[in-house]
């Protein structure tokens, strides 16, 4: 899976959970909670959805490594590597 595909999948799941966010305007540095307004339940649902979609396992202690789009893509690419 390319980084672009991972990015698309992540944004897709993000906007499914938080449809108030416009996927086209999300920037790589936006913080999921501080800038995009997700709460902790959203994060939980997002990680669950990503795990199912990409078939990776993300332990709770790694959640902070998904706090921006850029970091999440980097982290997931490493997992799928």
């Amino acid at each position: 899976m390319t980084r672009n595909e991972i990015r698309t999948a992540f944004v897709d799941e993000l906007t499914r959970i938080a449809p108030d966010i416009d996927g086209k305007t999300v920037s790589d540095e936006d913080h999921l909670m501080d800038d995009l307004g997700l709460d902790s339940m959203d994060i939980l649902n997002l990680v669950t959805a990503i795990q199912t979609r990409l078939g990776v396992s993300v332990p709770e202690t790694d959640y902070p490594r998904l706090e921006t789009l850029e970091k999440a893509v980097e982290y997931l690419a490493g997992k799928l590597g």
Binding site: A18, D20, S40, M41, L44, T61
Partner: protein, 581 residues
């Protein structure tokens, strides 16, 4: 109940604030509790005075009051004297801008130092302090500021621009908007420069014990949110219950994780710990597993007051994630917000070496009413027993006169009025206030059971309110926002069980002609609700129906939707006129 009682040792009891709970209950009087505070000359009482000035006058000004850690890891310590001076500065700022006794300051921000200066400075100036949840969307904020007739607001520039600026001019009572930091948007005042030049002496306003001090907003099943009014005398209960239920004592290191926008964040995140002379650990950041474990270890936290959703998130990560941390300073763990499941009580003991002590109270009670105290054996899953000074009962409400239920019977949890932190009003809603009291009891709206040993057990809500991650959500407020969308004809909102949040919000929607149910429509409506209400209040799931179950008078039967959702008996459906399709 299937779970073994956790028994306390003789040593646990000897070290507890109330070694003999039964004796303490007999000997206790609120008058005596009042004497432990200093009060103001002439019979006055002021919460900020009891929280700060009393300690500074007694020579404890140099003690650390707040050990603050910012989101990016920076730290700042504030002594009691620092806090007193900054609260005085804040009170001076309010006065300079014409905000005085009887005015109402709303706050909407995270756990930044200015929150504490503002809360204590506001009370010091005799102004009413009203916290709002910063994850609220613009709609709940606006409604609450209208009902509360806000005179002033303190918030951040980001929150102001996103959620308030567009309608600010439509709140006629609002005279002052303070913005944390050195810059402010147009028509707002930057707090930083104001604080810099304000005098750090401000004589405590002579407030009467019955003067209004706090307004906490809570949701109703129908109608608008209710502004729960508390007075300065509430501090008598904040002080005593902090000792009895949380073991707060001078010098304790205490961490309350509650959001400052809800009642726990004020009563036990600001007032009670300071009045009891503790050192509070304050972390600006939201829940983060590693960060929390590190905080417990590094700050040598002794007393920890947290919430079921957070505990369940820690449990999801498993015991291994906690390995390697030193939790040996922890002496007492407590939880509030919604009933704590027995697994979580016991999990505390396995991971932290101490069980979680669940307790029960609500915005209306202002302070903890029923608790598992340090000396009491814990029956996992029970909220414990009434604290000294509190008489609680389980009552049958069907008849004109209330009758108390037998042990083991389910009824409404009720309290005998008269404790100091009892609400004094719902703002401008006399009829709704009066409805809470009947036959010499305050009715809590919670269904519960008392067992033959006197322990209380939560059963459910007597109404349609939803408890999600510890927040009480009124279905009406959510339905109103959904109906505002052009596509929506009718909406009904219920809480469905969720293993982490307790309950999550689910909406049933009937669309107007010309609109089709689809995934896209579901997302559009959820997006609309999230924008208006914020993520904590908006539905996490929306389903479409042709019609909703309604009574003859046209009332949507949320109860029936919920029973069907849960596969429970439908109960009395004799008033059902049109059914769900």
């Amino acid at each position: 109940m299937g779970w073994d009682t956790i028994t306390k040792s003789a040593n646990d009891r000897a070290n507890a604030a109330l070694p003999d709970t039964e004796k303490a209950r007999k000997d206790f009087s609120w008058n005596d509790a009042r004497q432990e505070l200093s009060g103001l000359p002439g019979g006055g009482l002021n919460i900020a005075h009891e929280a700060l000035d009393r300690h500074v006058a007694a020579g404890h000004g140099a003690q650390c009051a707040i050990r603050w850690r910012g989101a990016s890891g920076e730290t700042r310590d504030f002594t009691y004297e620092h806090l007193q001076r900054n609260a005085s500065k804040f009170a001076s700022v309010l006065t300079r801008h014409g905000i005085g006794k009887g005015d109402r300051l709303f706050s909407m921000m995270g756990r930044v130092p200015e929150l504490y200066f503002a809360a204590l400075g506001t009370l010091r100036a005799g102004v009413v302090f009203t916290p709002l949840f910063s994850a609220f969307g613009p709609e709940p904020v606006r409604t609450r500021m209208e009902i509360g007739e806000a005179s002033a607001l303190i918030t951040t520039a980001a929150i102001y621009r996103r959620k308030i600026a567009s309608w600010r001019a439509e709140i006629p009572s609002l005279k002052l908007v303070l913005i944390v930091g050195d810059d402010a948007p147009e028509d707002c005042v930057a707090l930083g420069p104001e604080m810099d030049r304000a005098p750090d002496r401000f004589e405590v306003m002579q407030t009467d014990p019955e003067d209004m001090a706090l307004i906490h907003f809570t949701s109703g099943t129908t109608g608008r949110p209710k502004g729960v009014v508390h007075v300065h005398e509430a501090v008598v209960a904040h002080a005593a219950t902090g000792r009895f239920a949380l073991e707060l004592r001078p010098g304790s290191v205490y961490w309350c994780t509650a959001d400052p926008g809800w009642v726990t964040g004020t009563s036990y995140g600001i007032i009670s710990p300071l009045v009891n002379g503790v050192t509070m650990v304050v972390d600006e950041a939201e829940y983060d597993l590693d960060r929390w474990y590190r905080t417990l270890e590094r700050e040598k936290v002794e007393i920890w007051y947290t919430a079921p959703t957070a505990i369940r998130m820690m449990m999801r990560a498993g015991q291994d994630a906690a390995a390697g941390y030193d939790f040996s300073n922890l002496k007492f763990l407590a939880s509030v917000g919604e009933p704590l499941n027995p697994e979580a009580v016991v999990w505390g003991k396995e991971v932290f070496g101490k069980p979680f002590h669940d307790n029960w109270w609500q915005s209306e009670t202002g302070g903890i009413m029923i608790a598992n105290t340090a000396a009491m054996d814990i029956k996992p899953g029970s909220m414990g027993k009434p604290l000294p000074g509190i008489e609680a009962g389980i009552v049958e409400t069907a008849g004109d006169e209330l009758s108390e239920c037998e042990p083991g019977e389910v009824g409404e949890l009720a309290l005998r009025p008269g404790w100091p932190s009892m609400m004094r009003a719902y703002l401008n809603e006399e009829a709704r206030y009066a409805k809470c009291f009947r036959d010499g009891w305050y009715l809590s709206g919670d269904l519960a059971m008392r067992d033959s040993d006197g322990y209380f057990w939560f059963v459910g809500r007597a109404d349609d309110l939803i408890k999600s991650s510890g927040h009480l959500i009124g279905p009406f407020e959510v339905e109103s926002v959904l109906i505002e969308h052009d596509a929506v004809a009718e909406a009904a909102v219920i809480g469905i069980p969720d293993e982490t949040a307790g309950e999550v919000v689910k909406a049933y929607v009937v669309l107007n002609p010309g609109f089709d149910a689809s995934d896209e429509m579901e997302r559009t409506l959820r997006g609309h609700a999230r924008k208006r209400l914020g993520p904590a209040v908006a539905p996490r799931e929306i389903v479409f129906r042709q019609s909703l179950p309604k009574t003859r008078s046209g009332k949507i039967m949320r109860r029936l939707l919920k029973a069907r959702e849960l596969g429970l008996p439908e109960g009395d459906i004799s008033t059902l006129e049109t059914d769900e399709k």
